[in-house]
């Protein structure tokens, strides 16, 4: 048992850190976020060249075939760099859903293009109700045609095909399909744009029913948590650096305990989010009995932590922290968008309650213990 990165995992993480620092420094992020889609084709080509677009895609479909832990390490570094554009939507969201749900034929058609960097994609799930619970969905197909509107769809404008979760299954819709209308929504995260996606009798190809969806969304959630961890790490580092250099009363502000303790709490929350996220990714990879609970634990905690880390970071920066010029708000904006994406803390606490209050733990200690024991055996 070893809860630390292996050598190859550490190399992957270091490589990704270097790559993003070189190819997507914050100046480039700012440039991208001023564009309509935050998508940069040249950057995408380089991401593909590195193999990052196929990180978890099985080798038979042209990917690297790596595991969930590797995926989250890459996503953590993407989050640290505030990577703009559709990487998360394509690889961690659409990629995971196709991988979990589609047929081999369809994977060749869709997943292989994602892995090879030829296509971008996203998942359209949430409707007017604003819920990530697939049970809340209203839209379904008739004669393999979709009608209705999906909201909060990340990166839809640059997707070559959109994976749509409907009541009666999971579908792929070509970006050029008839009756498809994509309209930007003015979301807070400037580096990952969101859209409303309207379908009017739009032809859709069925990939599967929704039974495999939950586990695919768990993968995406782990990736999102990791991205949040990376963002927290960056906010922490920016803040500590500022506390060491900014002087008031003739001293660096970092000497004042009120400031130190804000930084210490940022550290605690960042590290705890990281522990929870790494554990969740490992649990998913190994398919342990507590994997679903572990995902919710990670998302619940990271959702709250990424907001409070941002709060504290801005506070330590004083007036400078409130300016557009300072980078913190870029992370803060993404943190808020990510907080609700794939379910906020309240959503995930309810999921945990179903598992541990209604389920095994309650009154039936043995079965929860058995579950945990099974988790440990794995």
């Amino acid at each position: 048992m070893q809860f630390g990165l292996s050598e190859s995992q550490q190399i992957l993480k270091d490589t990704a850190r270097k790559f993003f620092a070189g190819e997507s420094p914050v100046a480039a992020v700012r440039k991208a976020m001023e564009t309509e889609t935050a998508y940069d084709a040249a950057l995408w080509a380089k991401l593909a060249e590195q193999g990052f677009t196929g990180i978890i895609t099985p080798e038979e479909f042209g990917g690297m075939g790596l595991g969930k832990v590797e995926l989250i390490l890459l996503m953590e570094e993407a989050g640290y760099a505030l990577l703009p554009g559709p990487f998360f939507s394509t690889v961690a969201l659409a990629g995971a859903v196709i991988d979990a749900c589609a047929s081999a034929e369809q994977k060749k058609k869709y997943l292989a293009r994602i892995a090879g960097g030829q296509a971008r994609s996203t998942v359209a799930l949430v409707e007017a109700a604003g819920s990530w619970d697939p049970g809340s969905l209203k839209i379904s197909t008739a004669d393999n045609k979709l009608t209705g509107t999906k909201l909060f769809v990340t990166d839809a404008a640059v997707a070559d095909f959109i994976i749509v979760v409907a009541r009666d299954g999971i579908f792929a819709v070509d970006a050029k399909a008839a009756g498809l209308h994509i309209e930007p929504m003015k979301g807070m995260d400037l580096a990952r744009k969101i859209y409303s996606v309207e379908f009017k009798n739009t032809p859709a190809e069925k990939l599967a029913n929704t039974s495999g969806l939950a586990s695919a969304l768990d993968v995406a959630t782990a990736a999102l948590c990791a991205e949040m961890v990376g963002g927290m790490q960056r906010a922490l580092e920016l803040t500590v650096a500022y506390a060491k250099t900014r002087k008031q009363f003739g001293k660096p502000i970092g000497i004042f305990q009120a400031v130190q303790h804000l930084c210490a709490d940022m550290y605690l929350e960042t590290e705890s989010s990281r522990s929870a996220t790494y554990y969740a990714a490992w649990a998913l990879e190994e398919n342990t009995a507590d994997a679903t609970a572990a995902i919710s634990v990670a998302k619940m905690y990271s959702s709250d932590a990424s907001r409070t880390v941002g709060n504290r970071g801005i506070q330590v920066h004083g007036g400078m922290g409130f300016t557009w010029e300072n980078d913190l708000h870029l992370y803060y904006r993404r943190a808020k968008a990510s907080e609700t994406m794939l379910g906020d803390a309240t959503f995930h606490r309810e999921r945990i309650a179903r598992l541990v209050v209604d389920g095994a733990a309650a009154g039936d200690k043995k079965s929860q213990n058995a579950e945990r024991a099974a988790a440990l055996v794995k």
Partner: protein
């Protein structure tokens, strides 16, 4: 990263699990009404049994009575203990912080003399660090030790010493040189609590119990052979103890936390509020889920920390987050238990209406101490600021 157990770890776990199933007492929860002393005797007997089964001191060297296994097996040990709902161990300070200090800094003779008896709970240990004027500022200790031949003569006072009433031995921090800067004139002594010149006074705490004590020393004679590490270099030794106290001590707490969590969920299901079980109340569901999640995160943080320590050999200053996490989590947990129990939460042991014989009232009050003992939350945050994040020292 691989949390799968290795074949050896699996063998270890299976053996331990089998042993616990056959040997872990099931009646600990029923002993809430007994006196502190009789409960302690019970835990001592339990620890003795573990020791005789070869399950105490998992990662301690074999030649001193331990099992010679890895730190990660120690983690498996705590997890299995929690799974089996086994009672905690008696000699917590000996096992968690003083034994590891003797292993790191002690002489061969000291290791032979003390370690096995810590594991068997034959000798209970307490920690004599704090004084009335040396709490957070530990380097301010005044309790003095003067060399006379081959003995130190100790005079002075310690305070807030947990298990002082039960202890056979004490890890005592004393001042051996008052003329040098504070950190440079301290020494750590191993003190026989039964020797003449040791006075243990009960100190009642806000819970009403006297779990901690004041210690007074009047011309106490301590053999020179009982110095741990070098004379006047006690600061480093004491820091070694504190690093364990912050970084690794919390690992055993998951036993208690999981047990409390399970009990609280049972109560939520069996207690009616507004015509339905509390477990169906959406607000309380949120709070219970939050507790569950935090206990899980504590466990993950600790597993990660132990992996780091097995790579580096010693716990570092980042261990302070473990201390903050377990103490503040426990306070939040007990508050949620109070909300769940409503007016019953305040009832103390002995009241016929009290839930679980007042365990929740006690727990609520006791957790106030959690953010003070083992270094206050403020001191832990200072440590993170100064030594992990590299911010300028505030004092």
């Amino acid at each position: 990263m691989d949390l799968n157990l290795s074949p050896e770890e699996i063998k270890f776990r299976d053996e331990l699990r089998t042993w616990l199933a056959a040997n872990a007492p099931k009646d600990w929860d029923e002993r809430r009404e007994e006196s502190m002393e009789s409960r302690f005797e019970y835990l001592k007997r339990w620890q003795r049994k573990l020791y005789e089964g070869g399950w105490a001191g998992i990662s301690w060297p074999k030649e001193y009575g331990g099992r010679g296994a890895s730190l990660m097996e120690q983690v498996v040990f705590w997890q299995e203990m929690a799974l089996a709902s086994a009672p905690p161990l008696a000699n917590v300070l000996g096992l968690g912080i003083i034994g590891p200090t003797i292993i790191a800094f002690g002489t061969e003779a000291q290791k032979k003399r003390y370690l096995a008896k810590i594991l068997s709970a034959e000798e209970i240990w307490c920690q004599g660090f704090s004084e009335p004027d040396a709490g957070s500022d530990l380097a301010n200790v005044r309790c003095e030790a003067k060399l006379e031949g081959d003995h130190y003569i100790v005079n002075g006072q310690k305070v807030w010493n947990s298990y002082g009433w039960a202890a056979d031995w004490c890890e005592l921090v004393v001042r051996t040189d008052p003329d040098v800067p504070k950190h440079k004139g301290m020494t750590v002594l191993l003190v026989d609590m039964k020797s003449p010149g040791v006075e243990v006074r009960p100190l009642r705490q806000m819970t009403g119990e006297t779990e901690f004590n004041e210690l007074f020393f009047h011309d106490l004679r301590v053999p020179v052979a009982n110095v741990v590490g070098k004379v006047n270099e006690g600061w480093g030794v004491a820091m070694g103890t504190l690093m364990h106290e912050r970084g690794t001590f919390g690992a055993g707490l998951q036993i208690t936390y999981r047990r409390n969590m399970e009990r609280l969920i049972d109560l939520a299901r069996s207690t009616q509020r507004n015509g339905r079980p509390i477990a169906e109340d959406p607000v309380m569901r949120q709070k219970l889920a939050q507790c569950y999640a935090e206990i899980e995160i504590m466990r993950c943080n600790q597993m990660r920390a132990f992996s780091r320590i097995s790579a580096t050999g010693v716990p570092g200053p980042e261990g302070s987050i473990q201390k903050i996490f377990w103490s503040e989590l426990n306070q939040r947990f007990q508050q949620i238990a109070q909300e769940l129990l409503g007016p019953y939460g305040q009832l103390e042991a002995g009241d016929p209406h009290a839930v679980d014989n007042g365990m929740w009232a006690y727990g609520y009050l006791r957790t106030r101490g959690n953010t003070i003992e083992a270094g206050t939350s403020e001191i832990q945050r200072n440590i993170i600021g100064h030594f992990v994040l590299g911010l300028p020292k505030s004092y």
